[in-house]
Assembly symmetry: C2
């Protein structure tokens, strides 16, 4: 089979409090310089596709709050390929909207859907995986996902249980036996020991037709909205498109599509993958110094750690941030906000965010 | 005796690292909002003299780096009464320069010399003290100092040993038996228990003639420079004044004048006095909250302490500073710098400042 015309859809919406105050409503994780060498995760995601997907087949889905930031972060990117979701509707309506836009431009095209805020290396192995996924999805029926070889019994990820191997191709691909939500630690250990489970990467490849067929088998309200979006895109009717999107149910692609689809394949991904869950886990990407400190400094920022150990220090903007004689703290400093907390509280920032709201400080979220 | 015409000289030069990064070379402690209600210590010092010393008899001595900040902090203050010391020369040449300027304008005037960066309350008691000092200094021979009733056996202050009481006037005044440098803790305890020692406040009242006479008895090089400054001021010769200042020895008023002067009186000061030695001692001025946290927020700054105890949090500029689940830390955040350190290290910032220099970060000092 010849390599299909591959499009890519980068999901760059969303928000999150786990990197507060570096991340904000208008500036979520993908805009942070967490990709090494001052690059943002979004920039690195675009670069990772270079050579495989030309820019005229690259799409970025975002929300109205962040559209300006997307264009600023990806200079030269065609503005008409930035898809702005009119409302927050979780991932399923987003991928339906993107599929409708791509199908109207390039009927029958295969497209990959991937988050903007993961770190994945090396790029060559990643591109080889996507090519393999695109070959499998080119039948117009198969939904393809990617499973990461588990490095530990993580409880923060969903898992994919492998079924029968599909063919002799490489990287190896399997039918999906089941999707499993985030497990408890005992279950996670059993998953990893069995050798039959992979982490769910949240990266997919399919055609618009395969996606609609899966919705038909699963979520009818979503299907109706997706079909209206497809018709609106064919007609070039932006108003109808917005109305169809607004009518879509708020649901996730995992729940509404993947877990109910009749024909799902998973490609085994053997590469470095990190969804960068919090400041504390940055040590996996930014090698700690001899004292166990992880230091991330954006352009212009300087960190000075003196007699400090086991800390995570993150700074942006023209400033010096000095940690003196402290240990196991997370210290984050950006232009208008500073956070100081112990590492073992950094994954529990929800209480703090709630207090910010109560104190009338929501402008800092 | 009628009340003499009283001038006041506010010493607003100097620098210091104990409030880094809030204090800097161009912005020492007196410019920080540590006087309560967003006021700087310098503003509070000017206000404390209101009603006793009219603005046309008020002088501020500072250095070239800080002159702009002085005028900005004291709007409406006559620029010709800002005395800019051409070089850093410790306090003795400064007070000689101020005395020469005042004597040229108002021969025979009594003047008070006081630091810009102390907190003293209440103002009415302070003014009564200065009036008492001015009466004693009006003889043109007596150097008057003020001694603070010790609240504890502090080792960070100099002490004044009381001699015979001078007269029946109130507040009580004494001959000075001896000046004692910062004692060790056992000596400090003995001082306080004896009832014959007061803290040296660093506040003085005298005439120019009395100051010159004391130099004559003590430090001849300083006397020569002071006499040249006086002559230059009488002649209105700024160039000669600068040359005379440059020729003055670098020495302190305590060492070069007070400890050697033949006729020194001390007025017992029974008021709240604090020289604000470090962030950690701010609790004496800014009442801690129920969890023992001291919070100082400049205009526009917001502090959010959630599950924090025993901390000192200081912020300036439009920003939120969140302390979450930490204890006994000092956290300081200003526009271009952040410090995080344990309270028990906050008085030892010299090592950190040294590292800032070594790392090429002296611009942040």
């Amino acid at each position: 089979m010849n390599a299909p015309r591959l499009h890519a859809v980068i999901l760059a919406g969303g928000s999150g409090t786990r990197f507060w105050p570096a991340s904000r409503g208008h500036r979520p994780k993908q805009f942070l310089p967490l990709a090494g060498g001052q690059r943002t995760l979004l920039q690195a995601t675009v670069e990772r596709l270079r050579g495989l997907v030309p820019v005229d087949r690259l799409w970025i889905v975002t929300n109205p709050q962040q559209a300006g930031g997307v264009l600023a972060a990806a200079p030269g990117f065609p503005p008409e390929q930035v898809i702005v979701e009119p409302h927050a509707r979780d991932t399923a309506p987003c991928v339906a909207l993107a599929a409708a836009r791509i199908e109207a431009r390039d009927p029958g095209a295969v497209h990959v859907v991937l988050p903007a805020d993961h770190r994945i290396e090396p790029a060559a192995a990643f591109q080889r995986l996507l090519e393999r996924g695109a070959e499998l999805a080119a039948d117009g029926r198969t939904l393809v996902t990617f499973g990461i070889q588990p490095a530990r019994p993580a409880t923060g990820f969903g898992y994919i249980e492998l079924g029968a191997q599909l063919d002799g191709g490489q990287p190896a691909a399997y039918r999906v036996a089941r999707f499993r939500e985030k497990p408890d630690v005992a279950t996670a250990r059993a998953f990893v020991e069995s050798g039959r489970f992979l982490w769910n990467s949240g990266i997919f490849v399919w055609t618009a037709a395969a996606l609609l067929a899966a919705m038909r088998a699963g979520h009818r309200d979503l299907l109706a909205a997706a079909e209206r979006m497809a018709a609106a895109c064919r007609a070039g009717d932006d108003q109808a498109l917005a109305a169809a999107f607004a009518a879509a149910p708020k649901t996730s692609i995992d729940y509404a599509v993947m877990e109910r689809a009749p024909q799902v394949a998973v490609v085994r991904a053997d590469l470095r993958w990190d969804d960068l869950g919090s400041f504390v886990t940055l040590g996996a990407e930014f090698a700690p110094d001899a004292a166990g400190n992880v230091q991330v400094a954006g352009a212009g920022a300087r960190l000075l750690l003196e007699d400090a150990r086991g800390c995570v220090a993150y700074a942006e903007g023209r400033r010096v941030v000095a940690l003196f004689g402290v240990h196991d703290l997370v210290v984050v400093a950006v232009d208008d906000a500073v956070l100081v907390c112990p590492k073992d509280r950094a994954e529990d920032l929800k209480a703090l965010v709630q207090r910010l709201r109560e104190q009338g400080l929501a402008e800092y979220l």
